[in-house]
């Protein structure tokens, strides 16, 4: 199992992903499920940025004093786009939750099952 010790950072992102997934599956409040979703999204972004790292790498900002090796810049661009996707999905989900609360008076899933 020695390779896992070397790839501890990847393992940490998987743990975060699974904490988020557990919240989405198990929590009884819709808003908490949404927070679990956000945690899952940040966990995948963590994996993507971590995969782009290089030993002793500097930030991908070129300049007079910046010296290679540089972190791979593409993962940073992907995660920037991903964060924006995450916030717009969350904003729509929150608007939907306001409507659910207006129509059913609660965000608890067991209450909702009874009233719908």
């Amino acid at each position: 199992m020695t390779p896992l010790l070397e790839n501890l950072d990847y393992a940490a992102t998987v743990v975060l992903l699974l904490i988020g997934l557990w919240t989405v599956l198990a929590d009884s409040n819709l808003l908490k499920k949404l927070m679990g979703l956000n945690i899952m999204e940040t966990a995948v972004f963590a994996f993507i940025v971590t995969s782009g790292m290089i030993e002793g790498g500097a930030a991908p900002i070129l300049g007079p004093d910046a010296a290679p090796p540089f972190m791979a810049p593409i993962p940073h661009a992907l995660v920037l786009t991903g964060i924006v996707v995450a916030v717009s999905t969350t904003a729509l989900a929150l608007a939907l939750l306001l409507r659910v609360h207006r129509e059913f008076g609660t965000l608890e899933i067991d209450e909702l099952r009874k009233r719908w």
């Binding site: 992903l17 997934l21 989405v24 819709l30 499920k33 949404l34 979703l37 899952m40 999204e41 995948v44 994996f47 993507i48 995969s51 593409i74 993962p75 992907l78 786009t81 991903g82 996707v85 717009s88 999905t89 729509l92 989900a93 608007a95 939907l96 939750l97 409507r99 659910v100 129509e103 059913f104 909702l112 719908w116």
Partner: protein, 456 residues
């Protein structure tokens, strides 16, 4: 071959959608219809170009794998039914009091169409993911357009499951990027390692994500509520087009042959479960939603045995399912509620269109539903899978019962006293229904040569 019309295919509907909120409410549907007809024209032009050679375009001038490549190949011909169904749904919805044709509603439909265009032409895995999100968010918005109580909850459940699927897809794209160092589909395909757990996790993740987006049993639980509560014009887009994006995503997944066995069983299960659930529904739109799950199951089965047959079937099924949902919308519009017994008696044209659509959905020759389904059956037989070929025919029989039942309910059962004077659906609803119903048969007739062209 490269042409500026390829990025224009994506840019036109999105530009149209971005400009709609600046317009007055009266002109929004007309503007939406015009933009979508223009998009249809571009899609047809690109399909014409496809006969000579695949059209590809390096955005920004950077050749792949350094820049993003757009590619119009056989699967991208799906752009034609997308533009057609979306264009016909907008005028159809002008009568419904739901906010489908408000400036914001038209913007959601236009940008969603642009997202689908981007999705079918993307030749880069991350661009595929970004446009998958564009069309998914517009789909969640479409479900929430309904005024019905509970539409918000149905949309939220759809969003929750759809976003979990997107997260799994993004993780898989990240894994593929770590393994190959590139995001261009062709480049990744060549540089894939020959095995290893990360590769199987990536392929499995992509497949699972797209199977959920395509609402394949048992990941279909979000679809019935979402498609049944959405306004009918929009259900045509959801069930006819957006659900198929998951299948196109599956067809883009590299190394799918590792999963053929799984796809056959999941497809067969979805085929039968969808048909059986459809049999027990008493609401027309829920029945149509479950029949979508069944047809998607057939296509997933087809992916493993006869890829061309599956591709032809999703193209035909998009038009057939859209015509059925629009017909259902016309019945509900005239009946004023979801109880639509007997409304067909005074709506002969709509009822006949619905019957034609039903026949096409079952897959009776020469309609469009037959060509793809028959190729998949032959493929299953060639692969020596007798059991699954029988299952496909059994599924068709069960669906036949469902549609027959509803034709009887709508056309022959006595309608309640208070609804004696219902008249035929308004013209602006009838024309889209008839165009799509005619195409569901027409596509069947030209199916043969088209299938040969797809198989090329």
């Amino acid at each position: 071959m490269t042409t500026h019309w390829l990025p224009a295919l994506v840019a036109i509907p999105i530009a149209g959608g971005v400009l709609v909120p600046t317009m007055s409410r009266r002109w929004a549907p007309a503007w939406g219809f015009g933009v979508l007809i223009a998009t249809l024209g571009v899609a047809l032009f690109l399909t014409g170009l496809l006969r000579e050679d695949t059209v590809s375009y390096a955005v920004g001038g950077w050749p792949p794998p350094y820049g993003i490549e757009l590619r119009f190949d056989v699967l991208s011909t799906f752009a034609v039914p997308i533009a057609l169904v979306a264009a016909l749904a907008v005028p159809f919805a002008t009568h419904s009091n739901e906010p489908v044709t408000t400036p914001e509603g038209v913007a959601v439909i236009l940008v969603g169409t642009g997202g689908m265009m981007g999705f079918v032409v993307a030749a880069d895995f991350f661009t595929l993911f970004v446009f998958l999100e564009v069309l998914s968010i517009s789909a969640y918005g479409m479900v929430a357009m309904s005024e019905e109580r509970g539409a918000g909850l149905a949309a939220f459940r759809y969003l929750l499951m759809g976003t979990v699927a997107s997260i799994v897809i993004l993780l898989s794209v990240g894994l593929l990027y770590t393994l190959t160092g590139s995001l261009n589909m062709a480049d990744v395909g060549q540089r894939l390692p020959d095995g290893g757990l990360p590769l199987h996790l990536a392929i499995g993740g992509l497949a699972a994500g797209f199977l959920l987006k395509a609402a394949v049993f048992p990941l279909h639980v979000w679809l019935p509520d979402a498609h049944a509560t959405a306004p009918s014009a929009v259900s045509a887009i959801l069930s006819g087009l957006i659900v198929k994006m998951g299948i196109i995503g599956l067809l883009r997944t590299p190394g799918l042959e590792h999963l053929h066995e799984l796809l056959i069983w999941v497809g067969a299960a979805s085929l039968l479960a969808g048909a059986l659930f459809a049999l027990v529904q008493d609401d027309l739109k829920r029945m149509l939603a479950y029949s979508t799950v069944s047809n998607i199951g057939l296509v997933v089965l087809g992916l493993a045995v006869d890829r061309t047959g599956a591709t032809v079937h999703i193209l035909n099924h998009a038009i057939i399912k859209a015509s059925l949902f629009l017909a259902a919308g016309a019945f509900i519009h005239r009946a004023g509620s979801r109880r639509i017994e007997g409304t067909g008696r005074s709506m002969p044209l709509t009822t006949s269109a619905f019957a034609v659509g039903g026949i096409a959905a079952i897959g009776i020759p020469p309609t469009g539903g037959f060509t793809g389904k028959w190729m998949i059956v032959l493929g299953a037989l060639e692969a020596g899978r007798w059991g699954f070929a029988v299952m496909i025919l059994l599924g068709a029989v069960i669906l036949a019962l469902c549609y027959a039942r509803f034709v009887v309910v709508v056309a022959f059962r006595p309608s309640p006293a208070d609804r004696e004077g219902t008249s035929e659906a308004p013209l602006v609803m009838l024309v889209p229904i008839f165009v799509l119903a005619a195409l569901s048969v027409g596509v069947g007739i030209i199916g043969g040569p088209f299938a040969a062209f797809v198989g090329k």
